[in-house]
Symmetry: C2
Subunit: 229 residues, 2 copies
DNA sequence: ATGCGCCTTATTGGATCCAATACACCGTAC
DNA sequence: GTACGGTGTATTGGATCCAATAAGGCGCAT
């Protein structure tokens, strides 16, 4: 499971167009270009790709099953809004699943990944831009899971990340840089345990890291008010 | 989240036909009518429903995103085979997520659900048929999660159950009834904790129950050999 | 001025058809 | 008799079109 968001459906390939459309929409939702509550019109997306509505419809089915859109008969697709408790529980799901993904990944990571993780973390520490931080943070974590051979687990982890991406961004925009040192310290502890191939330590640091983020996020109810259309 | 398998996609409704087709295929896969490795031809399914291929294609996209089918460009859909380690990890995922679903569900369960759970467990104890046991066992567990208000968590739990259903059935067919008393004892302990609304006990008993099943299942490599087409 | 009902338009669901791709079978050659 | 290549068929991906549904706007009445 590479650092970049990969198509997560079970097969490696549906129709090329529907996969590309699904990928585009997934990225648009994750980047905030399409915000919670916003409708997605099949005709608009089809026009943007110079394609017919059919691959767009298939793409929307995929995203719906991934939890990134919700559908109502004859009403079209919309990006769902999550409330604070829903996001809190999704973070608890991450708290429980990601350490398992990390443990499954560790045996399959090598020096090449360790070097890339060191580089990413150094760039996180040097960074001052929120959007870049979000991208690097995601890349850091997903790369530690990249060695996990279980597609079900990998795809669920990515799905949980995708579901909460909007709220992570909103939360980061609300917070100042004051807590960056905590994130960096935790990342360094995780990275150290990964390089030592100490699954017990790595799982514990990671679980604590996600839990701390979850609790900080839940202290910002205003992160759940935006995105209204 | 009712005991019956419910359509799990984010929206409550796509086109009625594609939802019905997805539901039918899901049931066919869960019941073993379509086994791992078997191909699913769009034309065959369309003919069975007296419909065109389009809702069938949409249904297949949904199932693929649920992990129940895998797809290759121009090759059609197939139910994937899982190996012993993949099933083992999926059970570990269940071990971690289902206690969370149970904890989220508990505050919303009432006397009506408790009565139904008692009835289901009594029928499990009186039962001697494997297929019926599988159905009742699933109904028992999913009913304890029925009060969980977080759709992401509920749908992931059902998805994990669906992914391993074939191997549970194969395993039950291989085992004798000798271990039934263990299942019943664990169910009774879970039920007692649920009725006392003791989330800590309920989570612990449930986690142990799933873990024991996982370990017993992993001791039967022959459960992973069947289903070859 | 506001509310309700009706009509029209926008959007989606499904059918049909055509193009493309993959696989299987048959024929020929060695 | 076996292997390889070519062709045809089966199946899927996407385009187009029609039917159905929902929502919004407009007009009329109170």
């Amino acid at each position: 499971m590479p650092g970049q968001t990969k198509q997560m459906a079970g097969g490696d390939q549906n129709g090329a167009v529907s996969q590309r459309v699904a990928g585009y929409l997934r990225e648009a939702i994750l980047s905030g270009e399409i915000v919670p509550g916003e409708r997605i019109r099949q005709e608009d997306v089809a026009a943007r790709f110079g394609t017919s509505r059919l691959p767009v419809r298939e793409a929307l089915r995929i995203l719906e099953a991934e939890g990134l859109t919700e559908h109502h008969m004859h009403k079209g697709a919309r990006v769902p809004r999550l409330d604070r408790h829903e996001v809190d529980v999704i973070y608890q799901m991450r708290e429980r699943l990601e350490p398992l993904a990390l443990a499954e990944s560790l045996p399959h990571l090598g020096e090449e990944q360790f070097r890339r993780l060191e580089d990413i973390q150094a760039r996180i520490e040097a960074n001052t831009d929120i959007a870049e931080f979000l991208a690097l943070d995601r890349e850091f974590h997903l790369l530690t899971y990249a060695g996990c051979p279980i597609e079900h687990l990998s795809s669920m982890v990515v799905r949980l990340w995708n579901s909460t991406q909007h709220y992570r961004r909103t939360f980061m925009n609300l917070s100042g840089p004051a807590r960056r040192w905590v994130v960096n310290a935790e990342h360094r502890l995780i990275l150290d345990a990964v390089e030592r191939r100490d699954a017990v330590d790595a799982e514990r640091y990671l679980s604590g890291h996600i839990r701390r983020t979850r609790i900080e996020l839940s202290r910002h109810p205003e992160a759940f008010e935006g995105g209204r259309v």
